[in-house]
């Protein structure tokens, strides 16, 4: 029997318990995502109105322990090299907890800018893998740090523009297929840079609406399976282009709710699959944008609590569905 309610207390205790399952062998595989996992957990908790369920001081101490002093950025884990994705997560966590003053903003800015390639795209780390995901990480992080003025905007936009495809979507590199997650990073990056005119909005919104399948879930590319995380990639992109109503909200809400684990909490990619903190974050984020009652507003551009972004004066002209009362 599919759940008809969001099981908030259960999800909160699921996120809190993530640190306890010491017999879970999967943990050692995900050390490279630890910083991101904390960001996902914290963001999900904020969306559900339980920001304080994780101890603020412990979280901040963990983030600071991941500082890579040689590179000037944050790694995913205390002894890992700095990476642009974990650096963004660290900044998001600290800002959510109003602790950005603990960061050497000049050094982080230099680290981020050092990863930009002549083509305008960003690499994830000194190893050099490039991807529009990393462009988003750089743009979002610089914006949150108040250092966007240090970025060569033309060069950055030019690369993203070249990733635009005939179907209106965006790929991870020039020439690559459109993919909903890459659409989010490119559209949100352009929104932060106030360059949404680079998007063929009519074609793209139509392509995004086409991602909804008869069971209500959304997929990331034509003829692929639905997955809870696409709720966020697609709803956030549509929010930025003010077209969330193009998705059948009731059906998508029911789909996300059906992916909950009603016994131990957490949300999975699809009904019956194992839950994880990533899909718990993006499932609740999707529900927030759909106006699900009782949730806190989430900023779709930065994927952070809307109140935090508003307080920084960074809110863009997005529109989610009105929050329902019941």
């Amino acid at each position: 029997m599919a759940e008809s309610q969001l099981l908030i207390p259960l999800h909160v205790s699921y996120i809190k318990s993530l640190g306890d399952s010491k017999d879970d062998l999967a943990y050692h595989m995900t050390a490279h995502l630890r910083m991101n996992a904390i960001y996902w957990g914290l963001t999900a908790l904020c969306t559900m109105g339980h920001k304080d369920a994780l101890d603020r001081v412990e979280v901040i101490d963990f983030v600071l322990s991941c500082w890579d002093d040689e590179a000037g950025g944050f790694g995913a884990h205390p002894d890992h090299d700095a990476h642009i994705h974990s650096t963004l997560s660290a900044i998001q966590i600290l800002l959510t907890h109003d602790a950005l003053d603990k960061v050497d903003i000049d050094r982080v800015t230099r680290f981020i800018l050092s990863l930009q390639k002549p083509s305008g795209v960003f690499a994830g780390d000194e190893f050099g893998e490039t991807d529009t995901r990393f462009s988003y990480c750089a743009i979002s992080a610089l914006s949150l740090l108040g250092r966007l003025s240090d970025l060569d905007v033309e060069k950055t936009v030019s690369y993203i523009r070249q990733c635009r495809n005939f179907d209106g979507g965006f790929g991870n590199t020039i020439g690559a297929e459109s993919h909903a997650a890459q659409v989010f990073v490119c559209v949100a990056a352009l929104a932060i840079l106030d360059r949404l005119e680079e998007v063929d909005q009519q074609t793209l919104c139509w392509w995004l609406a086409e991602r909804q399948l008869p069971n209500g879930g959304l997929n990331g590319r034509p003829e692929k399976l639905e997955d809870v995380c696409y709720s966020f990639w697609i709803l956030s992109s549509l929010s930025i282009m003010r077209k969330v109503p193009w998705i059948d909200a009731d059906k998508l809400t029911a789909f996300i709710l059906s992916c909950q684990d009603p016994e131990s909490g957490g949300i999975a990619d699809r009904p019956g699959d194992a839950v994880d903190v990533f899909h718990t974050c993006f499932g609740t984020a999707g529900l927030s944008l759909l106006g699900y009652p009782g949730l806190v507003d989430l900023d779709p551009v930065y994927c952070m609590p809307a109140s935090v972004i508003e307080a920084k004066g960074l809110r863009k002209d997005w529109q989610a569905l009105h929050r329902r009362l019941s």
Binding site: M29, G41, T173, D248
Partner: protein, 335 residues
Amino acid sequence: MTSEPDAPLFADRPEWEDVVPLPQYENVDPLAPIFYTDEYKDATNYFRGIVKTGEMSPRVLELTENIIRQNPAHYSAWQYRYKTLMALKAPLDVELRLMDELAVRYLKTYQVWHHRRLLVTETREPGPELEFITKSLQEDMKNYHTWSYRQWLLAYFNDDALWSDELNFADQMLESDIRNNSAWHHRFFVVFQSGVRTGDENREEVVRRELAFVKNYISLAPNNASAWNYLRGILDHSATPYSQLLLFVTPYSVPRSPDADLVDVIDLENPPPSMGAQLPCVAAIEFLADIHENEGGDDIMKATELWRSLADEHDTIRKKSREYRIRDALQKVQV
């Protein structure tokens, strides 16, 4: 997830005696304390040890391979492995053959593909890579990393020999799965998005060829979103008015006519929907509505009727988007 079952721990191997293993830096971790298998803990302790001393030797290759096989997402191990290969001037063809195995095993790991990219940038021999990619796509015909690696390879080395068989390759991929969006995208990339291929200099002829190609595929399976997207892509790219497709699209936008089989003169330019295809086809109705909207004037009402039929009957899940189109079009008329 595990290395060879009988391999001894590095701590038990005499040839590693001189390395000081460095245990994981322990710290508060509110969401997830690390719990490791003994094999993983052992290997990564020795890894931290050699990183600390900066050692780059053949045994580092053994150690990093061991870690990667346990956890292909360990990006520091990949990074250090690459640096070591360069420092040792190790034979990269040997490394690529090892990667052939690992890529298929860890198809969804970013690092596997990026490492390959770095190696091929050094060897500058992209030829054999195409064959490898073709083989690896057999494991997962829609793998995003694999396709994106192929597109990078073609664009980066960009020589005629490399491109020469690419259209043929895209054809074969579509033949094995007519709905594979990655293959449709690739075809567009090859034909329109990455320069002009030898033999394709006459662009009008290319557009005609591609239109015939996609119409044929639509007729075989009309309810195939990727093919309709491709059709729109060609028209937009060549600035061809959608209305030129009116004759082709119309039979797809209506229920099958009872006497359709009686037509004995087949219009080769406009292949009809195949027998048994489910009609009307949503994408065709949508396409026809776009033609009418572009015509403007009285045709706007025809467009709104088509959108209405999609909203209420043929594609109800996207009702809101069609109602938006109706309001939007009517507003434009009134202005």
